[in-house]
Amino acid sequence: MHISDGVLPLSVTLGSYAAGALVTAWSARRIHSRDLPKVAVVTSAFFVASLVHIPFGPTSAHLLLPGLAGALLGPAAFVSIGLGLLLQSILFQFGGITALGANAVMMGVPAVICGWFFQQFKGSTRLRQAIAGGLAGALGTALAAIFLAALLVTGGEDFFGVAKIALAVHVPVIVIEGVVSGFTIGFLARVKPALLQSSFQDAAGSVHD
């Protein structure tokens, strides 16, 4: 779920823009500057993937994918997710332009955490990679839901009810997202294992030209 315009207090909106800008700068520094155009192109693939609807009983849910983005892109995931959310906002009005900072922090920080988690625990067997991917997928959505609730609660006591409902509707999505992420990572481990070494990582580590 994206936060739309006018929900959060002004201080939180501006604060999360500042926080988002800081993390973006950190994320961009971890990418070789030559690779930034590639991150942009990959972002569109994630964007299209997030349009896939998974049937869930009478309704359907769409994937949020912070876990998968983190696992495949590593620290570059934050830039990618911020860009994707900007596009969703300007193309579809999913998430307001003034709440872009908040949405980017809410989805991007979990992605980076999941990327770290996946790289730590992926091991070397395919099964283990799939399980780590599934856990990363579930963790990413769960963290995003918690961030969303925390941001909503900054609006004061009046928003507690909305925050609780936002958490509740994410529970089935967390399960679906975990299962799909696990299968997707399992598929990639069989078909193209190279993708699971978080791409666009600056080989030298910190410095880039």
């Binding site: 006018g6 002004l10 942009a40 569109s44 299209v48 609807h53 009810g161 909305v162 399992g186």
Partner: protein
């Protein structure tokens, strides 16, 4: 009334039980129906019913050329003013100020003469979140002294807090006012021009380039995904709520990533072969005229007026 004795400063309005369908359920059903009808009418479906609609709306129609006041406005002025104004609107706290902002946005829409159809799409996208707020907030907002609670018949537990409803309506009005401005902001100039304006305002060049590239490849990958979906359907795949569907969709995503990462490398090679050195050519010249600043002035005055009006109300 039992409740009233404990919370004397709450004001209760007791209405008969049959008001519940009249005041709440029927309007909610009508609103939901209208929104889904608008959404369906606005979206031209190109794929069968049980499938996601892959079509990504283009940002500008007719290459963003038009003759309205907003089309001719300098793109740097436009971005700065509209963004600042949006933040001002987002900071409003009273329903009447937010309603005034909606009226102002409607006036801008009239002046800009943008596609009505796309404005409707944006509002339909907003409807889910806003509908959720409008239903949830009146029921969950804590009761403060001075609040008015509407109680239906003997359903004491279902107290509808009017303050919560007004709060949700204020948020919905602010979101609508800002969403209405997005079309005039984005579709009155070609996207490269808007991004060029941003870079002239000090946003790093690379940021604009990345938006442009991903916007371009969005359509390419959408096309790719649509072809893959058609292939799956030709092999008899239908979505259901079960593990097999999840597995099939996961493989679909995996394949999409494999193809797009490979494509990314080829795209980048092709760009370098054509002499890409981290810059795209500038799409045109920007010149600031007096009239640009004049329009910005009107706009800033409107924003300041709204914030002041809001502040006056405490």
């Amino acid at each position: 009334m039992l409740l009233g004795r404990f919370m004397t400063d709450l004001q209760y309005i007791q209405v008969p039980l049959w008001y519940l369908p009249l005041l709440v359920l029927i309007p909610a059903a009508v609103a939901a129906g209208v929104v889904s009808w608008l959404g369906r009418r606005a979206r031209t479906r190109v794929v069968p019913e049980n499938d996601p609609d892959w079509s990504v709306p283009p940002l500008t129609q007719g290459r963003g050329q038009g003759t309205s006041l907003i089309h001719r406005w300098d793109v740097r002025c436009k971005i700065l003013t509209m963004l600042a104004y949006s933040f001002a609107v987002a900071s409003l706290r009273h329903l009447d100020a937010a309603a005034l902002a909606v009226l102002f946005s409607l006036a801008v829409l009239m002046v800009a003469r943008v596609s009505f159809h796309k404005v409707m799409l944006r509002l339909a996208a907003l409807a889910g979140f806003m509908g959720m707020l409008l239903v949830v907030m009146p029921l969950t907002v804590p009761n403060h002294p001075g609040d008015t609670i509407v109680v239906f018949g003997s359903l004491d537990w279902l107290g509808v807090n009017v303050r919560g409803g007004i709060l949700a309506a204020t948020i919905a009005a602010k979101a609508t006012a800002i969403a209405l401005l997005m079309e005039p902001l984005l579709s009155t100039a070609p996207l490269p021009m808007t991004l060029y304006g941003l870079s002239r305002l000090g946003v790093p060049d690379m940021a604009g380039q990345m938006v442009l590239l991903s916007y371009r490849y969005l359509h390419v990958f959408t096309h790719e995904a649509r072809r893959m979906t058609a292939g799956m359907q030709a092999r008899g795949f239908a979505k259901k709520t079960n593990m097999d569907t999840l597995r099939a969709l996961a493989n679909f995503l995996g394949m999409l990533f494999v193809r797009s990462f490979e494509r990314t490398e080829r795209v980048f090679d092709a760009m370098q072969a054509r002499g890409y050195k981290g810059r795209f050519p500038d799409p045109g010249q920007l010149q600031l005229r007096l009239s640009d600043i004049f329009i910005a002035g009107i706009w800033v005055a409107a924003g300041t007026g709204l914030v002041f009006f809001d502040w006056l109300k405490g």
